[in-house]
């Protein structure tokens, strides 16, 4: 197995994994989306809301605000000592009180006051609601850990995807150097070098096969390598993307160990 990081920028990471099966990489992808836990608002107490938005729409909007999640600090409330009731060990409380005076007031995610400074909205500029004069909201919300399996608001990523790496197969004996393939390529990554056509950026290839179809002499073949993958993860900012990937692999390990344990007791 070989891993190489191509890009790490903002909330995005791109890396190449070589020497694994499609099943493994797909499990990793699914685990990242559905099983890596994050914090999200789950319970809302509305003290007052005379704005134009109904309580349930407001609650739904609040749930979708991504929250920063310190690694290992909080666990699932079902596994907590409080047995899912909700306590400071597994829940974070936010309060928000805002009233429009004479003008229009905009309520932002940054207006929340958190009980834990490590768990705050990823961006303070998310608009929750606009209030006109004499409208007012007062709410108390509880955030807890959850997984994307239960609701998309707990998903730590927006993008978790992989694609096969491309292998460019060029036959110089069949090629007539008509350069039709170079024009056909939508990514413009083919180039003529002397008597050969070369691919200057194999990672950008989308495996669309347009170059092979444009060639009347079968000089070009695009093969996909199903043991080498380009993996892209784009986080929401709750957890750094490299940490998401690591946590996902750890979840797979935990599951394997759990099943192994169970098999041991069953066979005994």
């Amino acid at each position: 197995m070989d891993v190489e990081i191509i890009e790490r920028d903002g909330n995005r990471i791109r890396f190449i994994v070589e020497g694994v099966s499609p099943a493994f990489i797909n499990s990793l992808r699914r685990t990242i989306m559905a099983e890596v836990p994050t914090m999200a608002i789950d319970e809302v107490v509305i003290v007052e809301n005379n704005s134009v938005l109904f309580d349930e729409i407001l609650a739904h909007r609040l749930g979708l605000i991504p929250l920063t999640t310190p690694e290992g600090k909080y666990g699932f409330s079902e596994d907590c000592d409080c047995q899912g009731v909700g306590c400071p060990k597994c829940n974070v409380t936010f309060t928000l009180k805002k009233e429009a005076g004479e003008g229009i007031a905009v309520v932002y995610s940054g207006d929340f006051e958190s009980s834990d400074p490590e768990v705050v909205p990823v961006s303070p500029d998310i608009v929750i609601i606009r209030l006109v004069p004499r409208q007012r909201i007062e709410i108390e919300v509880f955030a807890k850990m959850g997984t994307g399996k239960d609701h998309a608001k707990w998903q730590p990523v927006t993008v978790s995807a992989y694609k096969y790496c491309m292998e460019f197969d060029f036959d110089s004996e069949k090629c007539t150097l008509c350069e039709d393939c170079i024009e056909a390529c939508p990514k413009q990554i083919l180039k003529r070098e002397g008597d050969e056509i070369v691919c200057i950026d194999p990672l950008a290839c989308t495996l669309c096969d347009a170059c092979a179809e444009a060639c009347d002499f079968d000089a070009i073949k695009i093969n996909e390598n199903d043991t080498k993958f380009i993996f892209t993860v784009e986080g929401l900012g709750c957890i750094p993307p490299e940490s998401i990937v690591r946590q996902a692999a750890q979840i797979l390990i935990k599951k394997s160990q759990e099943l192994e344990e169970q098999m041991k007791t069953m066979s005994a």
Binding site: V20, A249, Q257, E260
Partner: protein, 99 residues
């Protein structure tokens, strides 16, 4: 993860793994199939919303428990190797960027 045993013969087992889905079962059956002693390994989820995956493993040599334990161990090692390689690659990338 809760496991219910539906059928157990000397060389065959049928179990229900509650709380899991395609994410874990797909890689598990694939790892099982890599073992030459395993004749048959597959799972089915009857209904995507209300059913739990049902796993059937049949072996020609040893017991099905041994085959499953071997597969989980293999999967564990693979994931561990991935974490190590990934952490190493990330460190390398970071060092290179700082230069």
């Amino acid at each position: 993860m809760m496991i219910k045993q539906l059928k157990l013969e000397e060389k065959m087992i049928e179990i229900v793994i509650e709380g899991e889905g395609h994410t874990f079962l797909n890689i598990l059956t694939q790892t099982l199939q890599e073992n030459p002693d395993v004749n048959f390994a597959a799972y089915i989820i009857d209904h995507p919303k209300i059913s739990h995956p049902r796993l059937v493993v049949s072996v020609s040599d040893g017991t099905p428990f041994e085959a499953i334990m071997e597969a989980t161990k293999k999967l564990e090692e693979k994931s561990q190797e991935f974490i190590e390689k990934f952490t190493e690659a990330f460190k390398k990338y970071k060092d290179k960027k700082e230069e």
